[in-house]
Each structure stands twice: as C-alpha cells, then as structure tokens.
C-alpha cells in the first residue's frame, strides 16, 4: 500500500537516506532497524514530508505523494507517531486526542473507541498531557494517530525509555491494530528483538542504506548480521 522507491535525503553534505526502497502492505508490520544515526528517523520524516527528499518517490496505493505538504500527506491517510511521542504538553489528554481527528470531521474515530483501547487515557482525560508517564504518553500518541482513521501508521521508536512489560504491551497492540484495522505499519526501532517479534518483514538500515531485507526469523537467526548492524 505504501511504496518507497529509491528515496534519498540529504542534509547539506550528509546523506541521511541513501536510495532506500521498500514496500509496506496493508495489514502488515514492516520493521526498520538499525543503530543510532542509521537514517531510520530521517526515513520516516521524509515519507511524511517533514523533510524534502533529494530524489526518489513515495506513493500510497499508486498515488505519488512525494512532494506534498505534511498536512496533506497526513490527510491522505498517513499517520506518523514521531520520535519522542510528540505529546502536546500544554493541552489536555482529551484535547490531544480530539486534535488528531479534527481534519476527519464526523468520520473520525469517536473518543469512546480510543478509550476502549486505552482505558488509562480515559482516567486522565482532563489532565494536561505533561502529567503523563512515558508509557501513557506512548498510548496517547498512538491513540491520537488512530483518531484520524489512517491507512498507514509510522511509528518512530515507540519502545524508547519504556519498561519491557510496557514494550511488550505496545508491540502486541501494534500487531493487533495491523490485523484488525488493516493498517500498513512501518515500525522503526532500535529494540530489534521486540520489533521483529511482531513484524512480517524486517529491514536493516546502515548509514542510510538498506543492508538487509529478510523474514524476521531469518534476521534473528543471522547472528553475524545482527551483531554487525544492530549490536547484539
């Protein structure tokens, strides 16, 4: 559903994304792994239009969205949960959620449904988002992304700073979302094992380039590769 072709992004003389091509089908999870500085975040930021690519294409169901404005890409159905969660601290939990669905208008996911997925958020609905813990913020930013009923979901290191129990919960939630809502999920992670545990496909980036593209089981088994690029 989401097609990336030969995408290249430069920050001045630094090439952050180097001719990356990948496909993210509906109802699946594609994990993008790599060490710090490998280009994972830049890849996501280029897809959603926060950064302009030097060359290459991004397409959604055949429609090219490469140089669209960020807001238009989002309104086309690509949701991006950014690095650091991007929770708007000055707004309440409920305001954060509502904001995510305003562009959808009446077809947005009712908050009731979001609260079913994340009961903790309902408890804290009227509180400023600054008061949330790391795990709650992750739930909030994912819930906020879902309110707009996206077709694709881009997640940037959701496990960052979270306890293993929470990480497992979030990963299984992401898997469920892909299965039940048919989302095309692009999951960027440094925590390779947990990402690969729910992924249909695994891609390893190094210095902006794709160095491996495999079934997750084979990736986990390839100890040499894992050690070289992912550090374990």
């Amino acid at each position: 559903m989401l097609t990336i072709e030969e995408l290249t992004t430069d920050y001045g003389p630094i090439r952050a994304v180097d001719h990356v091509s990948l496909e993210v089908p509906e109802g699946s999870v594609t994990a993008v792994l790599g060490a710090n500085g490998a280009g994972k975040t830049s890849l996501l930021r280029t897809i959603t239009g926060l950064v302009r690519p030097t060359s290459g294409r991004v397409a959604v169901e055949g429609e090219e969205i490469t140089r669209w404005a960020v807001e238009e890409i989002v309104r086309f159905g690509i949701a991006h949960v950014p690095e650091g969660r991007g929770v708007i601290a000055e707004l309440t939990v409920e305001e954060n959620l509502r904001l995510g669905g305003l562009w959808r208008g009446r077809e947005a996911m009712p908050l009731r449904e979001v609260y079913e997925l994340f009961p903790r958020l309902e408890e804290r609905a009227g509180q400023p988002a600054s008061r949330l813990s790391g795990g709650e913020r992750q739930m909030l930013s994912i819930g906020r992304a879902l309110v707009g009923r996206p077709r694709a979901l881009l997640l940037d290191e959701p496990s960052l700073g979270l306890a293993p129990v929470l990480v497992a919960q979030i990963m299984s939630l992401v898997r469920r979302l892909a299965d039940t809502l048919g989302l095309a999920v692009l999951l960027v992670e440094q925590n390779a094992r947990s990402a690969l545990s729910i992924a249909n496909r695994g891609i390893v980036l190094n210095l902006g380039r794709v160095v491996a593209e495999q079934d997750p089981d084979k990736l986990i088994a390839d100890a040499q590769l894992l050690h070289a690029y992912l550090g374990f």
Partner: protein, 292 residues
C-alpha cells in the same frame, strides 16, 4: 480624594486599551513566537482608514467596521508575505523585520495622510458621569471602552477554549510540527492568529484615537505600554495580558496625575525592567524558561 478616584477611573479606561494592545501582542507571540513591534503602526494605519471613511461621510459604525476588517486583512497579509520567511529564523531577524515594518507603515501613513494629527470622534458622550454634585472623569465612552475590551477578551477566550478552531490554533502555536503531523494546516492557523491579533489591535486604535488624535506617531506610546503590559502579564498568557493592561493603566495613571505625563514612558520602562529582572516570564507564566 476626587482626584484619586478620577485617576483610578481613567486608569481603568486606559488600562482597557493597553489590555487590548497587549492581547494583540500575546496572540501573535503565542502563535509565532514573535513580538510584533509593528502592532502600533498597524493599528494606527487602520484608524487612519476609519478616519478617512468617516471624513468622507460614512457613519462611525461604518468606519469602525471598516477599520476592523482592514485590520484583519492587514494582519493576514503581513504574516503571509513578510513574516512567514522569518518565522524559523533567529529571533533577532524577526525583531528587526517588525521594526522595519513599523518604520515603513508610519512613513506610508505620513505619505498618504500627512504628518499633522487629526481628531477622531468618540463612540459615545465624552461628558463625565455626575454622582451627587461631583462630575467624575469617567465618561460613557469610557464605559464603552471597558465593556468592548471585556467582550473581546471573553470572545477570544471562548474561541480558544471551546471551539475546534481554537484547539487547532493552540496546537499549531504550542507544537507546530506535531500539529502538522495531525493534519492541522499550521500555516493557515498562523495567518489567522495574526489576522485576529491585528483585528484586536485595530479595536484598540479606534478606542484610543479620540484621546491621542490620529497621526503617524501618535500611537507609539500605546505600543510601548502595551508591550510592557504584555510582558507584565506574561507573553504567553491572554488573561495575563488583560490583567497586566489594567495594572499598568492604573499605575501609569497615578504617575501621570501626581508626577506629570512626561514621566509616563519612563515609569513604564522602570516597571518593565523590574518585571524582567524579578519574574521575566511575567506574572501569569504558562511556560517556564528553559534553564541549562
């Protein structure tokens, strides 16, 4: 005693005007993190437009409406054309840019309408209320001023707290990048912020015009005092702007009454310095300074 009451009442009335200017500055600061030093010039310009409308036979209401509308449009155009390029530049660029805009607008006003100040009609009677046998310096026009500012402040509060548009504007102001990722057309929200701010500024200009007369530089003190009021209340806080305006209006009224009007700008400066030394984020700071 009458003098004190008079000064207090006139302080409330001028405080309302400072509050309006401060509100305009705060609106722009919240949406684009820029202090619009051209605000005074912009509201001067729209007041001149109203004056031109009234002079050529239009009613006060028509002039009023035209001023507000042109303020809205002017604010939108300025943001879109002139300010957008410096929104992500170092803050000094925006400061110099708005100062340049101020200089330009004042010069253009001088070119179109000349540098001689002209009078401007008040909306309501300028004769003070009489209670018992004493006539106070508070007039029906002053009542109008205070009421209008209260209504506008309340309307803005409602817009921001209770509407989807307001939510979008707040989201765009607090976290523009994240807001874009939520489908908010941030650019439009910023333009709208400036347009609304300029509208509020135009309002302040119309309210203060009868007492300062309309001339290219007659509104300069209003901008400076409005800025001090905004800083006093906290640049991030609309209610702070209103309260800051009132407090400053009262304080400066007393200074003017007991020490002479020439000292008013210096008094404002002293208050500004005190606030910036003691509590730089203002009395009602919503955000805290980042300390390293």
């Amino acid at each position: 005693m009458t003098k004190f009451i008079d000064l207090t009442l006139s302080g409330i009335s001028s405080g309302a005007i400072y509050a309006a200017v401060a509100l305009a500055l705060v609106l722009i600061w919240r949406s684009t993190r820029i202090v619009n030093f051209a605000q005074g010039a912009m509201l001067m310009f729209t007041t001149f437009i109203a004056s031109a409308v009234i002079d050529s036979g239009g009613s006060y209401v028509l002039g009023f409406a035209v001023a507000l509308a042109s303020g809205f449009v002017l604010g939108a155009i300025v943001e879109r054309v002139v300010i957008r390029p410096v929104e992500n530049a170092p803050p000094l660029n925006a400061v110099i840019l708005t100062l340049g805009l101020y200089t330009l607008i004042v010069a253009i006003a001088g070119m179109i309408w000349g540098n001689t100040p002209r009078s401007f009609p008040a909306a309501f009677s300028l004769r003070g209320y009489t209670v018992g046998g004493t006539t106070f310096l508070f007039t029906p026009n002053d009542t109008f001023i205070v009421l209008v500012v209260i209504v506008v402040a309340a309307a803005l509060a409602f817009l921001f707290r209770a509407t989807s548009l307001g939510l979008r504007m707040r989201g765009a102001a607090f976290a523009p990048e994240v807001a874009r990722l939520l489908g908010v057309r941030v650019g439009r929200m910023l333009t709208l912020g400036w347009a609304l701010a300029a509208l509020v500024g135009s309002l302040a200009g119309l309210l203060v015009a009868p007492s300062v007369f309309v001339g290219p530089n007659n509104f300069d003190p209003i901008l400076i005092i409005g800025f001090v009021a905004a800083v006093l209340g906290g640049l991030d806080s609309p209610p702070g702007a209103v309260i800051g305006g009132l407090v400053l209006g009262l304080a400066l009224s007393y200074v003017s009454g007991y020490e002479g009007s020439a000292l008013v700008p210096l008094a404002a400066l002293v208050i500004l310095i005190i606030v910036l030394m003691i509590r730089p984020t203002g009395l009602f700071a919503a955000t805290r300074e980042r300390r390293v």
